[in-house]
């Protein structure tokens, strides 16, 4: 595979077990080799999302928490492969790291400007979560719930700020890099600019009751909408694993 005039060899599929090489968003994802080094190649939603990924790399957040970019072209990004241990095995301190990450994403003025400049280059809610659930509208409770969510979203959208969002900040996606001891986020396919930040804390799956970053989110998002959006996320997961009983329960709010 050639990206930005660089040839990558030994491609192996990443992504889901059931659909090797494809992420849940239906995009390509591989590991490959470049001059003896392992790299990760993934497809983005659009070139604007690729542009955003590149620009984030030059910020403090990018330098601190993201893998280096080796190449990018069109809708493909090649990142260095991060060798190390997953935060899943050493949960201690991970909450603090995730808290810092979310707070930087929501508050760093450079990232706020970048979010505005590259606005909606990939919105986790509008480009991923909602369409993923809405395609199941053939099930009436799902249809009713998505409609209800969309209605509330339409009311609130004009008042919601646009921010950079990373909806994959779960411990499994944070690697403590061997070489530097730095904590690095390895799944960046859904990194975007839009309204996805609403669920960044919930998506980290840390389930802590008290969180400064959650409070930051709650400052802008009414509780009922946060709850609805999290239900939308759970509904998407239930539908993905074909657990229709659970999906219908979530859609009906039981």
């Amino acid at each position: 595979m050639v990206i930005a005039d660089t040839e990558f060899t030994c491609l192996r599929p990443l992504g889901q077990e059931t659909r090797p090489g494809l992420t849940k968003a239906g995009r390509l994802s591989f590991c490959a080799m470049l001059e003896g080094r392992k790299v990760k190649i993934y497809e983005t939603h659009s070139q604007r999302q690729t542009n955003l990924r590149q620009k984030i790399q030059n910020t403090v957040f990018g330098k601190s928490f993201l893998p280096g970019i080796i190449a990018s072209e069109g809708t493909y990004v090649v990142e260095e492969w991060i060798h190390g241990t997953s935060a899943l095995t050493s949960k201690a301190g991970i909450k603090k790291t995730v808290e810092t990450m979310i707070q930087v994403l929501l508050q760093d003025p450079k990232l706020i400007n970048l979010a505005q400049e590259q606005a909606m280059s990939f919105c986790y809610l509008q480009n991923y979560l909602y369409p993923r659930v809405a395609k199941w509208s053939i099930l009436s409770p799902v249809k009713d719930f998505t409609k209800e969510w969309q209605k509330r979203f339409d009311e609130l959208r004009p008042h919601l700020p646009i921010r950079i969002s990373h909806p994959d900040l779960s411990p499994a996606n944070i690697i403590c890099q061997e070489a530097s001891d730095r904590k690095v986020i390895i799944d960046n396919e859904l990194l975007g600019s839009g309204f996805g930040w609403i669920l960044d804390w919930h998506n980290s799956l840390l389930k802590e009751q008290k969180s400064v970053s959650l409070e930051l989110i709650q400052q802008h998002v009414p509780e009922d909408f946060l709850e609805k959006t999290w239900r939308l996320r759970l509904l998407g997961s239930a539908l993905d694993r074909e657990d229709y009983t659970q999906a219908l329960k979530i859609a009906k709010g039981k």
Partner: protein, 249 residues
């Protein structure tokens, strides 16, 4: 449609979603190289102005030395609607009327990939009535709403009678292969709020008082135009938009 190289955005003008009003507003900030297709006459009537690109396009040899250009200008001078005629002539230069997302992606791939792309959608049940009222007035037609919808349902049967618009459904204008291809879809129902947010994104000031309403013909209650057949026809014609945005009667 506007491609703004100055402010790095693409505005897709979906039919009957306040597109002309948006163009009039955006005209205040239009750059000399920006491309605007359509609504120029409305822009001028709302104290806007042509940009350099428009003039250069009109002076292109294939328009300038074309007999139909001069026929249109003559017609415009006689009917006192010269700006409307210039607008029509300019549309011919690009041969894009209400272009689809895939047309625009081909037209300027770099802008399409890198610029912020937005459009507006509207509840199809209301949009159909608005379109009907506009066409009845603009084309001076004597046709019922039900017949109008039947024309939209089977456009090939009636393509020569000027009732069916060139673009019936807005869906292909912001989707490619049935997937949404733009960055932001505002709702006509939230026009001011959504447009204000868009202005923030593209870096333009927004003042509600400066937002013109260009094609406002009459206040109407769209539900009064509907019986069961009309509802069925609209839900069939605009099925994808209704499904995607959760619109209901």
């Amino acid at each position: 449609m506007i491609i703004s190289y100055k402010h790095k955005y693409i505005f897709i003008h979906c039919r009957k979603t306040a597109g002309s009003s948006i163009k009039c507003f955006l005209n205040k900030y239009i750059g000399p190289k920006d491309i605007q297709i359509g609504s120029w006459h409305e822009v001028i009537h709302n104290q806007g102005s042509f940009n350099r690109r428009f003039i250069v396009d009109l002076l292109a040899p294939r328009l300038f030395f074309n007999i139909s250009t001069w026929k249109n200008i003559k017609k415009g001078l006689c009917n006192k609607n010269i700006y409307k005629q210039l607008n029509s002539i300019h549309k011919k230069y690009y041969n894009l009327y209400h272009p689809s997302a895939s047309d625009l992606a081909k037209f300027d791939e770099s802008a399409w990939n890198n610029f912020f792309k937005f459009c507006f959608v509207r509840n199809p049940y209301e949009k159909a009535v608005s379109d009907y009222i506009w066409r009845v007035k603009a084309k001076n037609l004597d046709i019922s709403f039900l017949d109008f919808l039947k024309h939209l349902e089977s456009p090939n049967l009636y393509k020569d009678d000027h009732i069916v618009p060139t673009q019936i459904d807005n869906w292909p204008m912001y989707t490619i292969n049935d997937k949404i291809a733009v960055d932001f879809i505002g709702k006509y129902e939230n026009l001011y709020h959504d447009f204000e947010q868009i202005c923030k994104i593209i870096g333009l000031p927004f003042y509600k008082s400066q937002f013109p309403r260009v094609k406002h013909y009459a206040d109407y209650k769209y539900r009064e135009y509907y019986g069961a057949t009309e509802k069925r026809l609209v839900s069939k014609i605009y099925e994808k938009e209704i499904e995607c945005f959760g619109y209901s009667f």
